[in-house]
């Protein structure tokens, strides 16, 4: 699964557990309007660390907080890319 699919899947899972409704998960959806509150986003970040082994929020002291779902996914994609570069997997 791609990072986008994993993120979407986790968001749907958390919303289902909290019995919350989800709007269409588009790239420009503002995260805080996705039906997840800050607790929901905290849970999402914790679970993504388990599935992806990545927590870009704590890996850097200089972060800009993602506002939209698209920002959020790119935040993870770029963290995954720099990890792969660091570990020599990238070509």
């Amino acid at each position: 699964m791609s990072i986008t699919e994993i993120v979407i899947c986790e968001i749907q899972q958390i919303a289902a557990e909290k019995k919350g409704d989800l709007p269409p998960l588009t790239d420009d959806l503002v995260l805080l309007e996705s039906g997840l509150d800050s607790l929901g986003i905290a849970i999402l970040v914790a679970r993504l660390e388990e599935t992806l082994g990545l927590d870009p929020f704590t890996e850097s002291d200089d972060i800009s907080y993602p506002v939209t779902l698209g920002d959020f996914i790119r935040f993870y994609e770029s963290a995954a890319k720099s990890r792969d570069v660091a570990s020599g997997y990238a070509r």
Binding site: E17, K18, K19, V30, L31, L32, S38, L39, I41, A42, I43, V45, A46, R47, E50, D55, F57, T58, S60, D61, D62, I63, S64, Y65, P66, V67
Partner: protein
Amino acid sequence: MKVLPNRATSLRDTLGNASDCSGRFLWGATASVSLRDLLRGTSLGGRLRELSGRSVLIATRDPLSAALALIELDGVAGRLIVGTPDLSSEHLSAVIAKGGVDAIVSDWGLHQRQDCDAPLHVRCGPTITRAPRVQVDPQATEWVLLTSGTTGAPKMLVHNFASLTAPIKSGQNQETDVVWGTFYDIRRYGGLQILLRAILGRGSFVLSSADESAGNYLGRLGAHAVTHISGTPSHWRRALMSPAVRAIAPRYVRLSGEIADQAILNALRSCYPQASIGHAYASTEAGVGFEVNDGLEGFPPSTIGARGEVEMKIEDSSLRIRSARAADRHVGEEGPAFVDDEGFVDTGDVVELRGDRYYFLGRRSGMINVGGLKIYPEEVEAVINRHPAVRMSLVRSRRSPITGSLVVADVVLKGEPDGADVKGEILVLCNENLAAHKVPATLRFVPALDVAAAGKLARHHA
């Protein structure tokens, strides 16, 4: 005793001495009040005299109504008990009994409830009716602040005008264009500090409301051109995820109430390059300890042991504070139970010296703080353990870049998982029986948990 000529003894006197209150406002979510109007009138229907000398519980829904009542009643009531917005009906009668409440000021139909027995009920609200100033015997009003407890009734801490205003430097932030804001409710210590700064200064104040989104509050702050704003790191992380964070351009940004880590300080620095950004250490018991303004997490060792208004020491790794800003005692107790022989308050916050800086590690007691809300691991474990397949569980905190901490659970099953979705069932059980922040964010099955010699689960606090 040192006499401070410009320091009045009650909140309203402070306003009365102000040369000119015109142009100064308290802006709430749905109403606003001019401080000049408040000086010429009352939000209490002219019933100030009846409240003189009484032990008054302020139990409002609207924070603006509470702020107005507090301003009017300081120096008039014998005791002001500041009811928090989350004061549950279960604890209300305990607070009334313990606080010797003989009058309740409220903006809703609280008087109709049988568990709210008091000889006098006074209605308040954000509407000022013109009335001449009532002359009553001046009182040294006790302020009682409630701190949220997860079990049992809230703690009731006694402060007074002097202890509450001691951290506020006269002469600071005195510009007339200062507009304060805070994500805190004004009925908690952190929010009350901002209300007092607004009143004692010469500016205005935009009050937040519990049922308001971060985006909406930021929009209102922007509309009133906020200059000085405070909140917990969790408040700020939430704000930074709202597009409306750009609606404000504050000169001063303050963090308190939780550990301010470097990531949040840097994010605020980059969002508000023009602002001075500081984090303060404060608690309802100890008062404001210190403020750190160098943009770095933790605090310099020079803070410790410096003789001054606030003295600090570290014992058993936890920070101890002694100052005139501390609460006097708990309601109903003779002396303060929370200080040592030398008068130091044990904050219970564990610190560590790394290099030339002290850093906060967390709460000694093991209590978990998720975005400012308290959790004791045992209460969550009790719910998980209700599932028939569960042998035992350990709930612990894990660091979260969003809410500071989260709770996670390690669960030992009675046998091998038999294919049923036990994890899903446990989460359903938790969601049905616990507030959202107490439900474990992640849950994993482990073969065993450490049990210490005394037969208790070994808890490892970071």
